[in-house]
């Protein structure tokens, strides 16, 4: 992700007649590879479980292939200069997620999630195509910053009107469909943060009173800072009410990262961390739901010692441990022991058990690569809004992967969240496709306008 070498190379490149290769052919080849890998995984599950190739293999491969091909065509036609990596990575992760969910469906007959997930993936890819085709220039979004934030807050507050599910009030149920509006809100908030910070970053960085003796810490004026902190407090407040701490943590991290990138002030990080720890302690103290999560994290086997059997986190750790280095093989693990969230929050445990540390590392590196391409699009972009937008979207992915993967592997307390593309969950898949579409859009404009000079 640190590409100092590249920058030097770019700086030395001649100033004229430079055009980055488009590499659409490579993108197509990688997509074909990704689809084949997923079909192979699908067949491997069937062979391991029943000794036969599952009857739906051709349909599954064709479905995934057609979706990926259509997305590729959209990119080829409307974003020809875009980075060739994000789309194949998204296809591979989404396809792998479908394989894992299909595999877990075999353990829960009567409760099949893979077909629904395929439908939502189709919706997601459709949204991807629409964004790539209809959004000609990402800067258009800057104009709708306040529309975005109002919509985001509306979406965040909506689930309060609906009953809680498993302790979190984050779902909206309409006509048999469950939607998690908070998922969409994060993209809208990223757009708003990017637009607002792009417009006000100088004021935030340099204006305002200086506190502290040696003028190290400088506070911006309330006029500049006020709106953004208000928005942030509102969103976090809503989330605490809804008990969705994963998303709350995500928003907070996104806010701090973008503020730091926009202003370059380390003081923001200090203030951010201070606020975060205060908030974490307060919430952990007051909210029993969170308090129990922290207790589980510190003592994952407490329920076993108490004779109540392993809890979800303990089961998840057992899953990862069983996988070892090479895994048990697709279809041959017992991650279903985790229970009701095996297909959603804990889907990574199935990957860890059946693909082992090798497969898990590959998945982590795919996410890392996706994030890196997002950051790279931000670096290559000239327009501050575009830069912040790309960084914000990439950071959403990075933070989300860290929060949920760290949670299910016992690195940090568990907060309910979906592994991007991998986990069961319609809203999540659709949102992540939208994120990839915006990254494609930003990278297309960044590489299209590239003139051989490094970005400022």
């Amino acid at each position: 992700m640190i590409n100092a070498g590249t920058t030097v190379a770019q700086a030395k490149a001649p100033a004229s007649a430079v055009r980055l290769p488009r590499r659409r052919g490579i993108e197509l080849a990688l997509i074909v590879l990704a689809v084949l890998l997923c079909v192979y995984g699908y067949c491997a599950v069937g062979l391991a479980r029943n000794g036969t190739v599952p009857p739906g293999a051709a349909g599954y491969g064709a479905g995934l292939g057609v979706l990926a091909f259509l997305a590729h065509c959209a990119v080829r036609l409307r974003a020809p200069d875009a980075d060739p990596l994000p789309l194949p990575i998204a296809v591979l992760l989404n396809g792998l997620g479908l394989v894992l969910i299909y595999r877990l469906d075999l353990e829960t007959p009567g409760d099949e999630a893979a077909p629904t997930q395929l439908v939502w993936s189709t919706v997601g890819v459709t949204l991807f195509i629409l964004v790539v085709v209809l959004l000609r220039d990402h800067r258009v979004l800057q104009r709708y910053a306040y529309v975005c934030v109002v919509t985001a807050l509306g979406l965040l507050t909506l689930p309060i009107l609906f009953p809680a599910v498993n302790g979190a009030r984050i779902w909206v149920r309409i006509a048999g469909f469950s939607i998690q509006p908070g998922e969409f809100a994060k993209v809208l908030l990223a757009v708003f943060f990017a637009a607002y910070l792009a417009a006000n970053r100088n004021a935030l960085a340099y204006a305002g009173r200086r506190v502290w003796k040696f003028r190290r810490l400088q506070l911006p004026t309330g006029r500049v800072l006020g709106p953004i902190v208000t928005i942030w407090l509102l969103s976090v407040g809503v989330l605490v009410l809804e008990r969705d701490l994963g998303t709350s943590l995500l928003f907070f991290g996104l806010f701090v990262v973008l503020l730091y990138v926009a202003t370059g002030r380390t003081g923001w990080i200090a203030v951010g961390l201070l606020l975060a720890s205060l908030g974490a302690v307060a919430v952990g103290w007051l909210e029993p739901h969170v308090h129990s999560r922290v207790e589980d994290w510190l003592h994952p086997f407490a329920s076993i010692e108490a004779g109540q059997g392993p809890n979800q986190l303990a089961q998840s750790l057992f899953s990862f441990a069983t996988g070892g280095i090479l895994g048990t093989g697709l279809g041959l693990g017992h991650s279903i022991l985790i229970g009701f969230a095996a297909k959603s929050d804990f889907v990574l445990a199935t990957a860890g058990e059946e693909l082992g540390l090798a497969g898990l590392s590959a998945i982590f590196l795919l996410y890392g690569l996706l994030v890196e391409r997002g950051y790279r699009a931000g670096l290559a972009q000239r327009d501050p809004f575009g830069r912040l937008l790309a960084v914000g979207l990439a950071s959403i992915l990075a933070l989300q992967v860290f929060v949920i993967a760290g949670g299910v592997t016992g690195l940090i307390p568990l907060t309910g969240m979906a592994m991007p593309f991998l986990a069961q969950g319609g809203s999540s898949v659709v949102t992540n496709w939208a994120i990839v579409a915006l990254l494609i859009r930003v990278s297309d404009s960044a590489r299209g306008q590239y003139d051989g000079k490094a970005a400022p």
Binding site: M1, I2, V257, Y260, V261, A262, G264, F301, I304, G309, P310, A314, L317, F318, F320, A321, T322, G323, G324, I325, T328, H334, L337, G352, G356, L357, L360, S361, F364, L365, Y367, G368, V371, E372, Y375, G378, L379, P384, R387, V391, A394, S395, A398, L399, V401, F402, A405, G406, T409, G410, L411, A454, A455, P456
Partner: protein, 485 residues
């Protein structure tokens, strides 16, 4: 801004690196301890994923596996469950394993390293070998005869081939069907609590895991000790023992059930089971020689495995002369398992040599290739061969002349000893009827079978006769089954 974007990127890279490091910690460093956590069901699931190997009696399996289709997939089934329960034990998803199912679990469940094609192969491939089979030494006919002989009564039978130590029959009644404990449904839990709560203790292996006062059958040990120690040199010479006999150092006097024991020679005393004669003999032999002989037969041995462990039979070694006298007629602290008493009889029948008893002839792979055989068992010279010859004579006398007439088999040499053991406070309990014996067909070179039978509800009325009346016919049926097979 570029600089700060790079910083943020480094931050994301650190997050990713910590995820990878943590995954390696769980999946490699700590994997072992998580795998072995008893709350982790995976080992149990793997264990029941394949059908279990079988336990074979007379070349045919007495166990089977039934596919339940559940998470713990294969459940154990048993043919003639109650008949073989003291040998097979049970294999239950909920309550674990016992007896051979437990002792040979590695082979039966397929985890024995010998079952994998190459060393470490199964560790590498995560495969589990097909369960192997366990071939027992049991004789179907003898087992059946013993079980039918005991019938509705509470008791146990152990039969051994004297020359090898192979266990030919091991029966305990009342018994139970281990099949009701396989699986993990609520029916299994109900069966378990019913069996555990049963006052007759059907799951108790009375042949190997329960000790009884051996009563007069212990006189075989005392007689052997007296002959070996030279206290008796002539079987027909009067023994200079009074009747009743006052226990040394006390005023308690010991009587006999029958008449004619005063000064009786050893042969007559053995045939008619004179308590006075044998109590005095034990006291005359002394603690050291009595202990040596009893321990030679296997008393006080905690290490006996057949391959599951056998309850320790006891002969108290810190006793005064009165206690020694009582110990020598199988009372006081003397206790024996039926298997132990079968070993006593087998040692006599085998010329004074005792072979350690065993139940598993060999283990094989699923395809029938031998994994391990019982091999030669340790031999112990329990008494001098000349003593053994005279002991056989004495035991044959019991069957031809004395209390053991019910064990006689036409056309075979049969030796035996009856016993009735008093027990309970003030001997209030219903006495145990014992019979230990061996048999040799006319055209055989050596005795083919040694048997011990105990019946818990032997009649209290006629002392020695109950051993001969209740237990001897069962022993005869078992011996006949072996001799004719």
């Amino acid at each position: 801004m570029t600089r700060y974007i790079r910083h943020a990127a480094v931050f994301c890279a650190l997050l990713l690196a910590s995820l990878l490091a943590n995954a390696a910690r769980i999946q490699v460093v700590q994997a072992g301890s998580y795998d072995d956590n008893p709350a982790n069901r995976r080992q149990t699931i793997a264990r029941y994923h394949e059908p279990r190997g079988d336990i074979l009696v007379g070349g045919r399996p007495v166990t089977g596996s039934r596919d339940s289709g559940g998470q713990l997939r294969y459940e154990r089934s048993y043919e003639n469950g109650p008949l073989y329960a003291p040998v097979t034990g049970f294999a239950s998803q909920l309550y674990g394993t016992t007896f051979l199912e437990h002792a040979e679990d590695d082979v039966l469940s397929g985890t024995d390293p010998m079952l994998s094609p190459f060393p470490l192969w199964n560790d590498l491939t995560r495969a589990r070998a097909d369960g192997g089979d366990v071939v027992t030494t049991l004789d179907r006919g003898a087992q059946q005869a013993a079980y039918e002989g005991l019938g509705a009564r509470k008791g146990a039978v152990a039969a051994i081939e004297p020359s090898t130590g192979r266990i030919l029959a091991l029966v305990s009644t009342p018994s139970y069907d281990p099949a009701v404990l396989s699986g993990n449904g609520s029916a299994v839990k109900r069966s378990w609590s019913r069996l555990i709560g049963d006052r007759d203790k059907p799951m108790l292996n009375r042949a190997a895991r329960q000790t009884y006062p051996p009563g007069s059958t212990f006189k075989v040990v005392t007689a052997a000790a007296a002959l070996d120690a030279g206290v008796i040199t002539d079987l027909d010479e009067p023994t200079d023992s009074p009747a009743p006999y006052t226990l040394p150092g006390t005023t308690t006097s010991l009587t006999n059930e029958g008449e004619g024991c005063e000064d009786a020679p050893l042969r007559a005393a053995f045939e008619w089971s004179c308590n006075t004669v044998f109590a005095k003999l034990g006291a005359d032999v002394g603690v050291a020689d009595m202990t040596a002989t009893a321990q030679g037969f296997g008393f006080n041995d905690t290490a006996l495995r057949i391959p599951f462990s056998v309850a320790r039979s006891t002969f108290d070694t810190s006793v005064d002369r009165a206690q020694l006298a009582l110990s020598s007629i199988g009372q006081y602290n003397t206790r024996a398992t039926p298997l132990q008493m079968a070993m006593v009889s087998a040692a006599v029948a085998n010329g004074g040599q005792l072979r350690a008893p065993y139940l598993v002839e060999r283990t094989t792979t699923d395809a029938g290739a031998t994994l391990a055989t019982a091999g030669s068992r340790p031999v112990r010279q329990v008494m001098r061969p000349s003593t053994a010859v005279r002991m056989k004579e004495l035991m044959e006398g019991v069957v031809t002349e004395g209390t053991g007439g019910n064990a006689a088999i036409p056309g075979a040499r049969v030796g035996g000893k009856t016993g009735t053991a008093q027990h309970g406070i003030g001997n209030a309990g219903v006495p145990y009827a014992w019979f230990v014996s061996w048999a040799q067909a006319e055209d055989d070179m050596e005795p083919k079978v040694a048997v011990a039978v105990v019946v818990e509800d032997g009649s209290a009325d006629r002392g020695e006769i109950s051993g001969g009346g209740v237990a001897a016919p069962i022993a005869r049926a078992v011996m006949e089954a072996v001799l004719t097979s």
